[in-house]
Structure formats: structure tokens, C-alpha cells
């Protein structure tokens, strides 16, 4: 957030919107040139914009509920004349759909949970400690976010084929573990960086007061830092979830179809006999649902979460 002032009070500045001046709902509303006709104009523009944004979403739904012959009609109908769930049933019955869905859930949960735990510890280190090498760690965390991951595909594959842990050699390709760890690392730098922001938003005075009151370091962690970072953890996990759920290039190269996720399934679900648009769009909707639900659940946090963990899906 951009306002120069931040609360001196305990609330972590970066996660709680300004409350200093009795915040009114329309704070920051542009009042300049406000008039009735202007409002009507603005509302019209807003609605037109919303409709424009939603059109492709509407078109996907429209296609998905059409029977096969209507999908490929030369005059596209703007409403399915015989709405049907056939395309959805087809997607669900399709080979590997449910399996890949389950895989996706497992991989995503593992990657997000892992990245949160590991990332939180790392964030704690750079946000709360001053030590030799801290800058280097921050630099690493920032730089690795910018590497095009795609270009690492071949070396990554060669490496996962043969992971030597000293006592035994593992082949982690074509396994859920290999992809899960890869995704974990994929979202880790971002997680560290974002959580760092949230942790350093918690004033140190809080820690200190607690310490003076006789709390131990670990109590400070459990009772102050962790609860106050809650919204940050949510925002960060949303980003991680989206990244891990939406990835398809890596998993498509590392794993065979029975160990892939829904996104890779979607990519492959084009038969040789041409693209089956109806089931494809139905599959796309099913695949997007978890992300949409996740967005809706954290809707309350989204204004704070978004600016804090400003991400692009």
C-alpha cells in the first residue's frame, strides 16, 4: 500500500489496510468532477468492461453445455438450444481424468504445504536476523524467481532420473514425488520473499514486549509471529496453489499420463480425429473450478492479500 503513513500500533502494516484516519468506505474515491451524469457514464463503462471481461468465460460455459452437433455449428448459437451435461460426463468418464485430478490435488497440496513450511523458516531468517550472508540469500531468492524455468527442463530431467542420496539412488521421474518437489522449489523463492514482507511488517516492539513479559523465543513465534502472519500465509498459498495447479509443461515432460495433473490432461485431450471442443471446454471448466473456489474462499482477504502477494495467476 502506498500511503506514506503506517500505524504505529501493533497491527502489521502490510496486511491491514489503513485505519489511522477513521477510514471511510470511500476513502480515496475520486471526487473530482463527480456528477450524476458522470456516475451514470462511469457505471456504464464499468458494466461494459465487466461484460467484455466475462465474454470468454460465458463462451466457454456456452460451448460446454452444447451437444456435439451444436458446438460445430456454422452459426454459433448464443445459448445452447438443448443444454446437456454430456460434455462434462464425457470428461469425467474420460480415461485418467479422475486419476489426474487426484494427482493434481496431491502434488499441489504437497508443494504448497512444503513451500510454506520451508519458506516460512527462510523468511524468518532474513526478516528477523541480521547475519553475514543475509544479503546473498536475498539476492539468490530474488534472482531465481526470474530464471525462465522452461529452459531448465532437460537438465532437471537428467538430474531427477538419478538422484543419489548416498545410500541409495532414486529415479524420481514419472513419480508424484519428483514433480511435487520440483513444484515446491518452483514456488519457494516467491514464498520466502512474500512471507519475509509479512514478517517484517510485524513491529519488533511486539516481540520485545513479549520477551520482556517473559515469553520465550519460541512462544513469541507461536503466539505473535505466526498468528499475525496468517493473512500472509493465505495470500502466499493462493499463489503457490495457482502456480502448482496450473503448471503443465514440466509434468507433461517428466511424467506419463497416469501420473500427470488435470492441466496436462487438458493439453492432451485432443483426439486425432480433430479437437473435441465440447468436452475440452467442459474439462477446462472443471479444471478451473478449484482455482475459482480458492479465490472465492479467500475473497475477504483478497484486497489485502493481493497487494501483499501481488500475483498473476
Amino acid at each position: 500500500m502506498v500511503a506514506p503513513a503506517r500505524p504505529a500500533a501493533p497491527a502489521p502494516a502490510s496486511t491491514v489496510p489503513l485505519k489511522r484516519r477513521k477510514a471511510k468506505a470511500d476513502e480515496g474515491v475520486i471526487t473530482v468532477g463527480r456528477s450524476r451524469s458522470g456516475t451514470i457514464l462511469a457505471n456504464t463503462a464499468g458494466i461494459v468492461f465487466g461484460v467484455f471481461m466475462l465474454f470468454p468465460v460465458y463462451w466457454v460455459l456456452n460451448t460446454a453445455f452444447k451437444p456435439a452437433d451444436e458446438v460445430l455449428a456454422l452459426e454459433p448459437g448464443f445459448w445452447p438450444s438443448n443444454p446437456t451435461f454430456d460434455n462434462f460426463i464425457s470428461a469425467f468418464k474420460a480415461p485418467l481424468f479422475l486419476k489426474d485430478m487426484l494427482n493434481g490435488v496431491i502434488i499441489t497440496l504437497f508443494a504448497v504445504a512444503g513451500a510454506l513450511v520451508v519458506g516460512f523458516l527462510g523468511a524468518l531468517a532474513i526478516a528477523r536476523f541480521q547475519f553475514y550472508g543475509r544479503k546473498a540469500i536475498i539476492l539468490v531468492v530474488l534472482v531465481v524467481q526470474l530464471i525462465p524455468f522452461l529452459s531448465l527442463l532437460i537438465p532437471l530431467f537428467l538430474m531427477l532420473q538419478n538422484v543419489n542420496l548416498g545410500f541409495k539412488t532414486f529415479n524420481l521421474t514419472n513419480s508424484l514425488i519428483g514433480v511435487s518437489i520440483t513444484y515446491l522449489v518452483l514456488i519457494l523463492p516467491y514464498t520466502v520473499w512474500t512471507l519475509r514482507g509479512f514478517i517484517s511488517g510485524i513491529p519488533r516492539e511486539l516481540d520485545e514486549a513479549a520477551l520482556i513479559d517473559g515469553c520465550t523465543r519460541s512462544q513469541v513465534f507461536w503466539r505473535i509471529i505466526l498468528p499475525l502472519t496468517g493473512p500472509g500465509l493465505v495470500a502466499t498459498s493462493v499463489y503457490g496453489f495457482i502456480q502448482a495447479w496450473n503448471e503443465f509443461i514440466i509434468i507433461n515432460t517428466l511424467n506419463s499420463p497416469d501420473k500427470q495433473n488435470l492441466m496436462a490432461w487438458l493439453l492432451q485431450n485432443q483426439t486425432t480425429r480433430g479437437t473435441a471442443w465440447g468436452p475440452l471446454m467442459a474439462g477446462a471448466i472443471i479444471t478451473s473450478i478449484p482455482v475459482v473456489i480458492f479465490f472465492l474462499i479467500i475473497q475477504r482477504n483478497i484486497a489485502t492479500g493481493l497487494t501483499a502477494g501481488a500475483v498473476k495467476g
Binding site: 500500500m1 502506498v2 500511503a3 503506517r6 489496510p17 484516519r21 471511510k24 476513502e27 480515496g28 475520486i30 473530482v32 462511469a42 457505471n43 464499468g46 468492461f49 465487466g50 471481461m53 454459433p76 520451508v118 523458516l121 527462510g122 531468517a125 532474513i126 528477523r128 536476523f129 541480521q130 553475514y132 550472508g133 539476492l139 539468490v140 526470474l146 530464471i147 525462465p148 529452459s151 531448465l152 532437460i154 537438465p155 537428467l158 538430474m159 518437489i181 522449489v185 520473499w193 512474500t194 519475509r196 514482507g197 519488533r204 516492539e205 520485545e208 520465550t216 523465543r217 479444471t287 478451473s288 482455482v291 484486497a303 493481493l306 497487494t307 501483499a308 501481488a310 498473476k312 495467476g313
Partner: protein
């Protein structure tokens, strides 16, 4: 990519923000600048560092090494060490007109798409402050849906909508009087094709920009704007002289991020061109991928990836410096 801690939020005199060491287990409020015992932070950061080193660092080094070799399918399959060729791959890439055309195209696309996205995003954010509550909710919900759509799905939707035989876009454009867009192919003319790709990228990017910037706008002090109105400022002047300067740090960061994302354009071009982008639709990312995985020129593809990173270095350093400044690093 934390946008919240923009430089403006920092107050040098904020005591909670100054740099101090913390000794775990010690109650040491007075020893503010003391360096912590060095093992605890390292232990905390160790898992993260190990994972990054193993799964990002090591492949990255392998990629660098690869770019000085000549790895083709034969070497990949047999596992033999590819022959060392020094800078040959780089010479080959850098002397290739096709490569420079790809670079120019990628840069131009990034430039245009980022400007459109940011201007649009800012306009929508301003609009959101101006509309009534219900309309604002509608706009937010619409943007949420778009934001939530996976990239792959969004790209497939656009491919379907712009299909030359069954696409709804042709159908609608054809309805305009005097326009024949039946069976129109959007990817014959590179300008039209890139317009489709840009529309997709902007459309998918607006929710992030508009919602972030809108959140920034809520922090613009109302008093300032009211005072400006009283002083007779036009809306344009208010925007230029009050809103933009306050939003500047936020805009800088979202713009930098958009540059980094759009420069790496892959999925959209890939899906819209059905997995085989023609030369006029290749970007650096698809070009590197096609060279490596399509043509089995793994080393050449790696060299292109390395050059891509180097080309981005300017923007990246700018971004990292911004972040460093934000991150109360010094």
C-alpha cells in the same frame, strides 16, 4: 512479488523498521545493532537454500555448461559427454538474422502489451473508484473469474473463439455491415495474429493490475483530492499531480513485473498456434523451446535461454534493486 512494501511505505524514523540483530533466547532490547549468533538464521534458511541449490542452481549450471557443448539427440540418448564447442553456439545464435528478428519481436510485443496493460489497468482502477458499489462488485467478480482462469485454459478459449470456421469472433465481426469475415483466418497477417495474442495477454493481465492499483488508490488521502478540487484542479491535473506521484512506486513494480512476465511469453503463442508457431509468431521462449525440444538442439536452446536471461538482466537488476530497497536490506 511483494508489492505492498513499496518504498513509500518506509519511514526511516520508524523505530520498528531499523536494522537490528536479534539473539535468539536473549532478551536484549538494548543491543539493537548486535549481530545474531550466526548459526540460527542459517539453520532456518538451510532447507530452503538446499532445495533451491539442488533443483534450481544445479540445473542452471548444467544449462550453462550445455551451452558450451553441442548436445544433440545422439548424445542425449547415449549419455555420452557432448563435444565441447566453446562459444560456437553463441556465435551461431548471435549471427543469425532469425534470432534477432525474434528478439525484436519479443521486445516490441513486451513494450506494446505492457503499456496497454498498465494504462488499461490504471484506467479500470480509477473507474472502480468512480462507479457505484454494485457496479464495483460486478467488476471485481468479473475480474476474479478471469484471474482465476488458468493460462492454458484462457489460451484455449481464445483459440476456440478465433477459429476460422467455427469461431464466434468471425461470426460477430461478419455481422458488421460491409465486412466479410466468414472463414477469416486471424493468423495470416502477423499484425492481426499478434493483436489476438496481445488481447489475450492484456485481458488476462488486467485483473492483477486493476485490483492491485485499485488497492493502491484507496490509500490516496481524500483530503488531498478535496483540497485540489477546491483549488480548482481539473480531474486530469489531480491525476497527474496527486494520484500518479503517490502511486508511482506501485506502478513501477507492477510494470516491471509485467515486463518480466510478458517477455517470457510462451503458453499463449504456443496454444494459439496449435503447438507449432510459425516464424512470425515465435518469441524468445518458444524459439528456445522449439530449438531445444523440437529440433533436438539442446545446446543451442540453452544458449538462447542464457542470452534471454542476459537480455532481461537490465530489467531484472532494476527490479532486484527496487526489491532490495524495499526489503530494508541495508
Amino acid at each position: 512479488m511483494s508489492v505492498v512494501d513499496s518504498p513509500a511505505t518506509r519511514r526511516p524514523d520508524d523505530p520498528g523498521r531499523s536494522q537490528q540483530g536479534r539473539v535468539p533466547g536473549h532478551v536484549a532490547p538494548k543491543r539493537r545493532r548486535q549481530r545474531g549468533s550466526s548459526s540460527t538464521p542459517w539453520l532456518l534458511a538451510l532447507p530452503a537454500l538446499l532445495l533451491i541449490a539442488g533443483l534450481l542452481g544445479y540445473p542452471l549450471i548444467r544449462m550453462l555448461v550445455l551451452s558450451f557443448q553441442n548436445m544433440r539427440l545422439r548424445e542425449l540418448l547415449s549419455g555420452r559427454t557432448p563435444p565441447w564447442v566453446g562459444f560456437d553456439q553463441y556465435t551461431r545464435v548471435l549471427t543469425d538474422g532469425v534470432f534477432w528478428a525474434v528478439v525484436g519481436r519479443t521486445v516490441a510485443f513486451t513494450f506494446v502489451s505492457v503499456i496497454i496493460s498498465v494504462v488499461f489497468g490504471l484506467s479500470i482502477a480509477l473507474l472502480m473508484r468512480r462507479v457505484t458499489r454494485g457496479v464495483r462488485m460486478f467488476m471485481v467478480v468479473a475480474m476474479m473469474f478471469v484471474w482465476a482462469l488458468p493460462q492454458l485454459v484462457a489460451a484455449q478459449i481464445f483459440r476456440w473463439m478465433t477459429d476460422s470456421d467455427f469461431g464466434v469472433v468471425n461470426y460477430l465481426v461478419d455481422k458488421l455491415p460491409g465486412v466479410d469475415y466468414q472463414n477469416h483466418s486471424w493468423f495470416v497477417n502477423p499484425w492481426q495474429g499478434w493483436s489476438v495474442i496481445t488481447t489475450l495477454v492484456v485481458w488476462a493481465g488486467i485483473p492483477f493490475l486493476a485490483i492491485t492499483l485499485n488497492a493502491g488508490l484507496t490509500q490516496v488521502p481524500k483530503e488531498l483530492l478535496e483540497a485540489a478540487t477546491v483549488d480548482g484542479a481539473t480531474p486530469w491535473q489531480a491525476l497527474r499531480n496527486i494520484i500518479l506521484p503517490i502511486l508511482k512506486p506501485l506502478i513501477t513494480i507492477v510494470t516491471t513485473l509485467s515486463v518480466i512476465w510478458n517477455f517470457g511469453l510462451f503458453t499463449q503463442a504456443w496454444v494459439l498456434r496449435d503447438g507449432h508457431p510459425e516464424p512470425q509468431f515465435q518469441t524468445l521462449a518458444t524459439y528456445s523451446y522449439t530449438q531445444a525440444f523440437g529440433q533436438s538442439r539442446y545446446s543451442l536452446g540453452s544458449a538462447i535461454a542464457v542470452i534471454t536471461v542476459l537480455l532481461m538482466l537490465g530489467v531484472m537488476i532494476f527490479y532486484i534493486r527496487q526489491m532490495f530497497r524495499i526489503g530494508e536490506v541495508d
